[in-house]
Assembly symmetry: C2
Homo-oligomer: 309 residues x 2
């Protein structure tokens, strides 16, 4: 799957992932109204609104991008109906041949991590039959429990040709509280980064490992160091746009080959129509605003990478 991701980044010239994190207040009123008319102001109604919103954005952007990253929390908050919308979104993005990164940030002790891995990137057995429950291509994993919490995810990746992005340095303001603490003179995130590199060694695709890392765009200097610590790991970079990261902050997350990172934007793309810059599209044409925002983001990153050359 890492090879497919690399190939699609090369094809689209856009190391970009669209974060499908549909907060209700991003969803235009006409979509909400229609969904509520059909299902009432219920969890099912909210789920329908989310699904229709996602579908339109995917329809308007899929040819420009290699991947999407649905944030499962935004679906899980609407209970079972919300999770059905997550499932539908994953399936629909696969129909559009997009790589799907499930932003699930799971992580537990061995047997429990194995269950999460089976559910999200693997298969489960029921009697003599085998099923693919959620079927994402990559998932994000929390490393706090150490190797035996991560290993079951890696095992499933090997079997199924899937991939991981392991949290190393997150984009939020207080990520440093534990992640930056010094251990033998070096911050915890560097030790986690070293582990990611080690875990990824025997998980190589053609040029990159399918065991990647999450490093926030909001910490470019740390990105530069982590890039060197994990030369073969793809870095998923959240925090572009709305969280404050800019294209010029991002160059050091990439390797000299112009690869090795994929930058996420959620609100900046899916709620682009709310920004002054894209206001001319109007709420009705929100997905076209998203398309314009994807193009602008790809250009921002591309020109930042060119300046570096």
């Amino acid at each position: 799957m890492i090879d497919k991701l690399v190939e699609m980044i090369k094809k689209t010239h856009a190391p970009i992932v669209v974060g499908l994190d549909p907060m209700m207040n991003y969803i235009p009123e006409h979509i909400q109204k229609k969904a509520f008319a059909e299902f009432g102001e219920t969890l099912e109604g909210a789920a329908e609104a989310i699904w229709q919103f996602n579908k339109e954005i995917v329809d308007c952007t899929y040819d420009l991008i290699p991947a999407v990253k649905p944030q499962i929390a935004m679906y899980e908050q609407f209970g079972i109906p919300g999770l059905k919308a997550f499932q539908k979104t994953v399936d629909y993005c696969h129909q559009k041949d997009l790589v799907v990164i499930g932003d699930i940030k799971r992580g537990d002790i061995g047997s429990t991590s194995a269950a999460y891995a089976a559910g999200h990137i693997g298969t489960v057995k029921v009697g003599s039959k085998e099923y693919v429950p959620f079927g994402e291509d990559f998932v994000t994993v929390n490393p706090y429990l150490g190797t035996d919490g991560v290993r079951p995810f890696i095992d499933v990746c090997k079997e199924q040709k899937k991939g991981l992005f392991i949290l190393v340095k997150t984009s939020n303001p207080s990520s440093g509280e534990f992640q930056d603490r010094l251990i033998d003179g070096r911050p915890l995130y560097e030790l986690v980064g070293e582990k990611v590199a080690e875990w990824g060694k025997d998980c190589m695709g053609e040029s990159y490992s399918y065991i990647g890392a999450v490093v926030g765009a909001t910490y470019p200097e740390m990105g530069r160091i982590l890039r060197k610590i994990m030369p073969k790991s793809f870095i998923l970079v959240p925090g572009y746009g709305a969280q404050g990261g800019k294209g010029s902050d991002l160059v050091h997350f990439f390797n000299e080959d112009g690869l090795g990172a994929i930058v996420n934007s959620s609100r900046g793309i899916i709620a682009a129509y709310k920004q002054e810059e894209y206001a001319q599209f109007g709420e009705e044409h929100f997905a076209e605003a998203s398309r314009a925002a994807v193009k602008a983001m790809a250009e921002d990153i591309d020109s930042a990478l060119k300046v570096r050359e």
Copy 2:
């Protein structure tokens, strides 16, 4: 909710939580067969088997225990049908007046943690209506992202009178890989423990905070230290029984008042019928074996606490 938990522990004399982590190989064949006869060898069939298994165990143990802890991964691995069984289990345990600890180990950046908190211990708004999606009483939370990842959970707890158990020192063998690393001469788990105490300060029930911690039974010496660092935090202690912890290892997780800890056992109770000790019950009467195992566990802990006095 912490006050209800304390009250129920006093009433049952059992600081015990039954881990409802139904792996398929724990579920007796007659239950699987019946479920598959009705729903086929499908995800729905697996979910039905899980639900029937849980129901029987709850029916046979609810009067002896204060709380249950369903591990969501064991449900999530069966996709949407599995998560419906999780939901049904939570609802049924509430009917039996049990405290429900959702072992979800979520944790993300602010707005995303807020969505998880809403979904699991809070409410969501849909138009003018408000819903309780999963409705657990407590959830487990991963602290790797720092205060702003945890704060949204705490905010919801305050509003809804719910509670948290934050991962401090987990029970698995490689938990030390990051959690034990020394920072200014002290292990990371102590710093996380200090944060838990700090977060819990303005979240007090009658005698304990509703912001608790997870500390594995497999590390009793660390439990002793963490007990002192977080005197007002309830400690959820996994790893009893199957993972190697014994009653005598547990005394230091408790305060002098005999409270302050609640010990989880999953496999040791729900799959008790597979142990030689309880083999006389037979597979048909698996839930009675679970009842006997709960009694034995309560006694083991009670006598360990008495020896300490």
